[in-house]
């Protein structure tokens, strides 16, 4: 398995995407979206940016299955931590209230 060389034009492209993403996220932040959408937009943009960095700057797109597996498990475990903790916080107070 020989390594893959990513050429500068790809890097420049990713770099530009990241810059645009940064500008977009700042612009979007000043806009008032309904409900929790502000957070959703900000996190979506951040995730997209991160994905580009991982895929191209960190060469994951050209890496073997193992690296994908490693990253996947990190995200999966992070998900476990969030999901199960939040399952506690969000289901507090579902019980009926006793009155006297």
């Amino acid at each position: 398995m020989s390594e893959h060389i990513v050429y500068p034009r790809v890097y420049v492209g990713i770099f530009l995407i990241l810059l645009v993403g940064t500008v977009l996220t700042v612009l979007a932040a000043f806009r008032d979206f309904p409900g929790p959408l502000n957070a959703v937009v900000a996190l979506t943009i951040a995730t997209i940016k991160a994905t580009f960095v991982v895929l191209y700057f960190m060469h994951v797109r050209y890496s073997g299955r193992l690296v994908w597996l490693v990253i996947g498990s990190a995200l999966f475990w992070l998900g476990i931590m969030f999901a199960l903790t939040i399952s506690d916080y969000s289901s507090r107070g579902w019980l009926p209230i006793a009155t006297t």
Binding site: V6, V12, T22, F57, A74, T85
Partner: protein, 249 residues
């Protein structure tokens, strides 16, 4: 996967080959995998703080937004760009090493280092501003405990804290605790990264790397990009979360 690696047909061992590896390929693979596994631990490490952030932001939304708005969005944005550029130069440094352009790779490494230090410098300016506004949480700095001045209605002094009516200063303190914990940890990683870069730079200067052997540069790149990614999330979560409510306060 790594099936059938240990083929022993290396003719002349590369000087950088460590004794317990069979060949350069195996050594490179171990190094890269090692760094990725290490990054997994980093994700979980920051993950704990992100979890705390999520829960408290949900609990104290208003105070968090107000506290966030007190951060300097310009410096934050500039720093984001600085880091992105540094990630780009780092990627270019890896490329230059891969194709054997030693001069270029040294230049890009220096650029990356300078950008990293710039980031830290700007961060220091920000920290200083928080220090002046008495926003360092608790008694972290005993001589300057958390004690911000809360702006009265209509007062626009940027050094004062602009709270939505009734929001507790206490919860603003919580935001700053999380802010300092997360950005502090991030900055620590940058400092360590800068140290690694200097080492790599010296090695590159001495001509240790070649198209055949450059995995230290590559691994440093992985680390550097990871630190960049953490910031990509920290910036919106810490600096931007309350901007859309600024008018309502």
């Amino acid at each position: 996967m790594a099936e059938g690696l240990a083929t022993t047909h290396e003719h002349t061992a590369h000087p950088a080959l460590q004794h317990h590896f069979e060949n350069m390929e195996q050594q490179r693979e171990a190094g890269t995998l090692g760094m990725w596994v290490f990054l997994v631990t980093e994700i979980m490490f920051f993950g704990g703080m992100f979890l705390a952030y999520t829960l408290f932001r949900y609990k104290y939304g208003e105070a968090f937004a107000a506290a966030s708005n007190h951060l300097d969005i310009k410096l934050g944005a500039v720093n984001t760009i600085v880091l992105i550029v540094s990630s780009f130069t780092m990627a270019m440094a890896v490329f230059s090493t891969q194709v054997g352009k030693r001069r270029n790779s040294i230049i890009f490494l220096i650029l990356t280092l300078v950008l990293g230090l710039t980031f830290l410098g700007i961060k220091a300016v920000e920290y200083k501003a928080k220090y002046d506004d008495h926003l360092i949480p608790g008694h972290l700095i005993p001589s300057n405990p958390f004690n911000p001045v809360v702006a009265q209605h209509g007062d626009t002094d940027p050094h004062k804290l602009h709270l939505p009516e009734g929001a507790s200063v206490h919860n603003v303190e919580m935001f700053y605790w999380i802010y300092f914990a997360m950005t502090g940890m991030h900055a620590l990683h940058m400092i360590i990264g800068a140290g690694i870069l200097i080492t790599i730079l010296i090695l590159a200067w001495r001509g240790r790397f070649s198209p055949e052997y450059h995995s230290p540069v590559e691994i440093t790149g992985l680390y550097w990009h990871f630190v960049d990614i953490v910031w990509i999330f920290l910036f919106p979560l810490l600096y931007l979360l309350g901007r859309h409510m600024e008018g309502h306060m």
